[in-house]
């Protein structure tokens, strides 16, 4: 029998943490800082809206683009919060999570052989999605010395005649880094000079603690060449509902819509209904959760530094990204031993690409009690290393 598996499917790497995942499942009383999702349940009014809608028979497909009132509400929200201007009927698609938005964005603009610059460390799907689209991912490391922001000089060094697009994610998973307007301006100059498309994953925009989020498409002349991705998973604690959205200039949006209608048809209607309730009447709950993340961040990062794991203060998202350099262990070794000996699950930074090595991603979207217990266990682990 011949090998049925396609070259591309063989080419993309398996999950970098499968081993850890299986190990953790065999253990008891694991405190997991390895989860990239809120620990809160979806605010109940969102669930009620969805349940009611199901009871009323709201279980069918929606239009490909998604529910009209939801798109209108998102358009207003983006305008009021981030000064973005997207037409709800022409420049927006409701997607099945930001994951789908990212995939169709890449496929809408990448041809085989095109190089796609990927600011790393980043969420693990960016490069595989580029590969699946026939493109060539080109990592651009964001370094600790730059507060994990994208450094325009490092970007410039990797731009070639084949470069087609740049993917960025700020506030960043896994580093919590946030780009300031001037940082984005420097990147914008390069993107425009070299006629690139910018794919900006802003799913953590609402979780910005210092200052306010600057949307990429509002900087310089980026509006006409930016695909903005966002969603409800993080800010509204809606990960399982799978609702995101893609916003882009009409031409790009039309192309992405063609792909979306063939591969997804539409995002799940029950999730869209919940999202609409969230954007209409969920702001207070959202703000409450954001306030709690900020409090946890302050507490956790202070404690990490106290026990000797040097950690910059993340300005967004819900991840701390401490360095393990002083321990003499690699990030993989540290994460594995910590899990085995102290039953604390963290993710090695290398999983997220260049610039992540020597660091751990610790999600502080867990209760304060668990955060404090995790710190206590990490301290015990560190004291044995000495």
């Amino acid at each position: 029998m011949r090998d049925f598996i396609s070259k591309k499917a063989r080419e993309i790497p398996p999950s970098g943490i499968r081993k850890f995942f299986d190990l953790a499942l065999t253990m008891e009383e694991v405190i997991s800082l390895g989860v990239g999702e809120p620990d809160f349940s979806t605010p109940w009014n969102l669930c009620e809206a969805s349940i009611y809608s199901i009871e009323q028979g709201g279980t069918s497909y929606t239009s490909n683009r998604g529910l009209q009132p939801l798109r209108e509400a998102i358009s207003r929200y983006l305008h009021d919060h981030y000064h973005l201007s997207y037409h709800p009927d022409q420049e927006m698609i409701i997607t099945t999570g930001v994951s789908e938005g990212l995939d169709i964005a890449i496929r809408a603009v990448v041809d085989p052989g095109d190089e796609v610059l990927v600011a790393e460390p980043c969420y693990v799907s960016y490069s595989p999605c580029v590969t699946l689209a026939g493109g060539v991912p080109v990592p651009v490391p964001c370094e600790e010395g730059d507060h994990f922001r994208l450094n325009a000089n490092l970007l410039m060094e990797r731009v070639t005649g084949k470069s087609k697009a740049l993917i960025i994610n700020f506030p960043n998973n896994p580093t919590g880094a946030v780009m300031r307007k001037e940082d984005l301006q420097a990147v914008a100059d390069i993107v425009c000079d070299h006629d690139l498309v910018l794919i900006s994953d802003e799913v953590y925009a609402e979780l910005t603690y210092e200052g306010s989020h600057v949307a990429s498409a509002t900087v310089g002349d980026l509006a006409g060449r930016t695909i903005t991705l966002n969603g409800f998973s993080k800010a509204y604690a809606m990960t399982g509902w799978r609702i995101g959205y893609l916003c882009a200039p009409k031409e790009i949006c039309d192309a992405a819509l063609k792909i979306h209608q063939y591969v997804m048809l539409c995002a799940p209607v029950m999730g869209q209904v919940a999202a609409l309730e969230g954007i209409r009447r969920g702001e207070e709950e959202k703000d409450r959760m954001v306030r709690e993340y900020r409090v946890r961040r302050n507490l956790f990062v202070e404690n990490l530094n106290r026990i000797g794991l040097s950690c910059h203060l993340p300005e967004g998202a819900f991840y701390a990204f401490p360095s393990v350099e002083t321990t003499g262990l690699t990030d993989y070794e540290f994460a594995e031993q910590l899990l085995k000996e102290e039953h604390v699950a963290v993710v090695p930074g290398s999983v997220f690409g260049q610039g992540g090595e020597g660091h751990l991603r610790c999600a502080y979207a867990v209760s304060r009690k668990d955060l404090n217990e995790a710190v206590r266990r990490m301290e015990a682990f560190l004291s044995r290393l000495k």
Binding site: S15, I17, V30, V35, E37, D39, F40, V124, A345, V347
Partner: protein, 163 residues
Amino acid sequence: MDEKDLLLLQLLEENSRLTTRDMAVMAEMAPEEIEARITALEDAGVIRSYSAVIDWERAGNGEVSAIIELKVNPERDYGYDRIAERISRFRQVRSLRLITGTYDFQLTVTGKNMQEVARFVSEYIAPMDRIRETATHIIMKSYKENGRTFCEKEGSERIPYSL
């Protein structure tokens, strides 16, 4: 009251056992400022007391609670205030509120058993001047108190890793 006060109140309402040091880190203020602000909030009567939310049913001490509703004739010059003050002085009265609707006051009362609660109401509350009518509702089970649910489990099992 500013935003910082509000944050402190929210932190304390959720967990009044937080140390000053932890609060200082969490709220991005100096410990001295935390102390000063809390003292000011106490002095102003904004913070009334520090207490724990206890699931007495689980504690198993066998106490029962009841909601008592009262119809009350208000007093000239004083309205409901003087009678409310008298009722609130009983240790058995855990809370007392003036409400709209059929009844005027709503109390929560605790006692060792149903008989004790009933006796308290009939011997002390009902005979008071100006009380016209009482209705006693024994609480059978508490599902939520002070914003805390007493459910066994909240949310679902999370997977140990997701990126």
